[in-house]
């Protein structure tokens, strides 16, 4: 180790990998992963979220997690976004293709992607 910059580089590289354990995240993305969700493709959605969040450099702020049945099975896969001080946003009939847009516009840009929101799909 010849310089602080080198140390910093390792820290940056690793930060996203352990951030998962710190729990002090601003935004929680929760994917419904009960039998109903899994059957219609919740897993690829979940994995795509993890990938895109990391790619966008948001791993320190956004936690991607899963939950059981959310209760509106006909609209699965369902994804809920929780942010402190804001109302919960529920996205329905999610696919892996829709994830990038949500990460880019909502999680990074702060603008809800209304065309995917449950209320609008209904």
């Amino acid at each position: 180790m010849k310089s602080l910059a080198e140390l910093q580089a390792i820290k940056e590289k690793m930060k996203g990998k352990v951030a998962l354990r710190e729990g002090s995240n601003d935004i929680r993305v929760v994917v419904g992963m009960a039998t109903c969700g899994i059957a219609v493709g919740a897993r690829p959605v979940l994995n795509k979220f993890v990938e895109e969040v990391d790619k966008a450099g948001l791993a320190g702020r956004v936690v991607v997690s899963q939950t059981g049945c959310i209760g509106v099975c006909q609209y699965e896969p369902i994804v809920e976004v929780y942010e402190a001080g804001k109302e919960k946003v529920t996205y329905a009939k999610m696919t892996a293709d829709k994830v990038e847009k949500i990460v880019e516009e909502h999680l990074k840009g702060g603008k809800v992607v209304s065309e995917y929101v449950l209320a609008d799909i209904k």
């Binding site: 180790m1 010849k2 140390l7 690793m14 990998k17 729990g23 039998t35």
Partner: protein
């Protein structure tokens, strides 16, 4: 991409309750369910709640599973990791409040056990993989060393540690900054930094957990100390009985060397530092600093008179700083977060936190780190969860064989160095053994004295002979042959041993006796005058009797008696069909097997 981490405790406690095979099972189960690419298993150091091991935490949810068994693994994987449903029956959710809680939402930090804790020394234990230098770096690891080497002069480092108020965690509580300041100016061709990881107190495992859970922290701190005092070599003296700790420390040293965080010209600063491990054979006296250094030098571990102090003539006759593991573990955080931050925790003269190993008659046995000045009541009732089986708290022993006991009447004592000394106790290295009404205090003092008699190195007479004679007198008392004069003689001998022994071992060995005499003199008197052991522990003073009117004559006791000391009588109690039994006092070995076998509570010991 990894979306979840399964943290499996790889501390000594959980390892012995099967965490290694649980970890393997997780790997198999993830593979079987096609999750191996999405979920990562991390073996960590100790989480602290050893009583509930094996412990598993699933992130990002932070779900805390306790007492996980092999058969639970598939369920956690298919339910939690596949379907997102927490396995509620395994969740530890004791928040200490009476309100109903939603099991799923109880984070570890909300539980009664963790709520009052403040983890500085243990901040990475149970969080990172101790065998990964990269994970340590992600948690600000080696940033303090970097800061010291690139921005601070050695004097600044010492000043910072002095200002923080850090005192030695190995027992004595000597100010760490002052120790470094006394060593730094002494000129020599070679100086040393030594870490005392001998941890000989029965029941203590704080240092072990730091070594197992966050070994890089020690490596970093010792390098900082080396820079501060001008030493280029360091030794860690650790007992060979700690195989996991030794292995992980060696891995940490190797990784640090590979990254150039040990070795020549660290951070391009021109500072060189390297570390070596020396294994101890487990003698208690080798935890005493001069004996420890003698042992590292390759000689029999015997203490030597001080002065000269290690700061002047230490390891191999060179100026040496010797500190405890936990003392060192505070150092990087003090450098990074500042002396004021550290000094803001604790009491006036005891700053920061202290790690305690809770053991004995307490619900949550394990490791806790709390701010100095926390009361004993909070430690035992809130964090420790109180005394099991509805029994009453009697006393807590701190400082192991060198310390003393704190009785129930002093439960509101704020635990710090000076308050404990004031009541004839000492902080010690952090073992805290809880006793309830079933513990005999004379017997407890005898237990620790037996330990010191065994561990006395024999070099000086007051310790070698004095502790032996002391033990004989205690034996006399617990066997019912003691006199009131013996109690006076015991006190006199205690004071003589304290005043005349060569090293700390002898100087503190009488403490458990003096402190129990001080707080529980009436128990000594019962043994001597009434020939009774009030707690029902000292066998020679017990008689086992069968209440003839309660005995229904089933004969279970007689069948369970290993000494054939129970016989049938002619007496048939009113209302019973069979004759009752009785115990022959001269044959009874007082093992208690009969009490355990009697369903009718007809047998008592007094």
């Amino acid at each position: 991409m990894i979306r979840a981490h399964i943290l499996v405790c790889g501390g000594t406690g959980c390892t012995s309750s099967g965490s290694v095979s649980i970890q393997q099972k997780f790997a198999e189960s993830l593979e079987k369910n096609g999750l191996a690419e999405e979920v990562k298993i991390v073996q960590t150091g100790c989480f602290g709640l050893c009583a509930l091991g094996p412990v598993v935490i699933v992130h990002p949810d932070g779900t805390f599973y306790s007492r996980v068994e092999i058969d639970d693994v598939d369920e956690i994987v298919t339910e939690h990791l596949l379907k997102g449903r927490v396995v509620e029956r395994l969740v530890y959710s004791d928040t200490g409040s009476d309100e109903e809680v939603d099991v799923k939402n109880v984070a570890l930090s909300d539980t009664a056990f963790y709520k009052t804790q403040n983890r500085v020394v243990l901040r990475n234990c149970g969080v990172i993989n101790p065998e990964s230098i990269d994970e340590y770096i992600a948690m600000d690891g080696y940033a303090a060393l970097g800061k010291v080497l690139t921005e601070m002069k050695p004097e600044d480092v010492i000043q910072c540690i002095t200002d923080s108020g850090l005192r030695g965690r190995g027992g004595g509580g000597f100010p760490t900054g002052r120790k470094w300041a006394l060593t730094a100016p002494n000129q020599a061709d070679q100086k040393y930094v030594v870490c005392n990881a001998d941890e000989g107190d029965p029941g203590a495992f704080m240092d072990r957990s730091v070594l197992e859970g966050d070994p890089h922290c020690l490596v970093e701190a010792m390098a900082i100390a080396g820079y501060a005092i001008g030493a280029t070599e360091g030794y860690v003296y650790v007992r060979a009985e700690y195989p996991i700790a030794v292995a992980r420390l060696q891995i940490a040293i190797d990784q640090a060397r590979e990254y150039g965080l040990l070795g020549k010209n660290i951070f391009g600063s021109g500072f060189d530092f390297d570390l070596h491990i020396r294994l101890g054979a487990g003698a208690f006296v080798c935890g005493e600093e001069t004996a420890l250094m003698t042992s590292i030098e390759g000689n029999r571990g015997e203490p030597r008179p001080r002065p000269p102090y290690p700061a002047v003539k230490g390891l191999f006759g060179k100026p040496t700083v010797e500190n405890n593991v936990e003392t060192f573990a505070n150092v990087p955080q003090i450098i990074l977060r500042g002396a004021e931050w550290f000094a803001s925790m604790g009491t006036e003269k005891s700053k920061g936190t202290k790690v305690f190993a809770l053991g004995g008659k307490i619900k949550n046995t394990g490791l806790v780190e709390i701010p100095m000045g926390t009361t004993l009541r909070e430690i035992i009732e809130d964090i420790g969860g109180g005394i099991p089986n509805g029994k009453k708290f009697k006393a807590a022993q701190t400082g192991g064989p060198s310390g003393g006991c704190i009785p129930a009447s002093l439960m509101d004592t704020e635990v710090d160095y000076d308050n404990l000394i004031a009541i004839g106790c000492m902080m010690g290295s952090g073992g805290l053994i809880v006793m309830d009404e079933d513990n005999c205090m004379v017997d407890m003092a005898k237990f620790f004295l037996e330990f010191t008699v065994d561990e006395s190195c024999g070099k000086c007479t007051p310790c070698r002979v004095g502790t032996k004679r002391l033990l004989e007198m205690l034996d006399k008392i617990t066997s019912g042959k003691g006199t009131l004069e013996d109690i006076d003689r015991i006190e006199e001998l205690c004071n003589y041993i304290k005043a005349n022994s060569l090293c700390g071992l002898g100087q503190t060995a009488p403490n458990p006796v003096l402190s129990t005499l001080n707080f529980f003199r009436d128990e000594y008197i019962s043994h001597v005058v009434d020939k009774k052991c009030p707690a029902g522990v000292c066998k020679d003073l017990l008689t086992f009797t069968i209440d003839k009117d309660k005995c229904i004559g089933c004969g279970m006791c007689a069948r369970n008696c290993p000494a054939d000391a129970i016989i049938k009588t002619d007496y048939v109690a009113p209302g019973h069909k069979l004759p009752s039994y009785e115990i022959l006092a001269d044959k009874c070995v007082k093992c208690g097997a009969c009490i355990g076998s009697c369903k009718f509570k007809a047998i008592s010991k007094k």
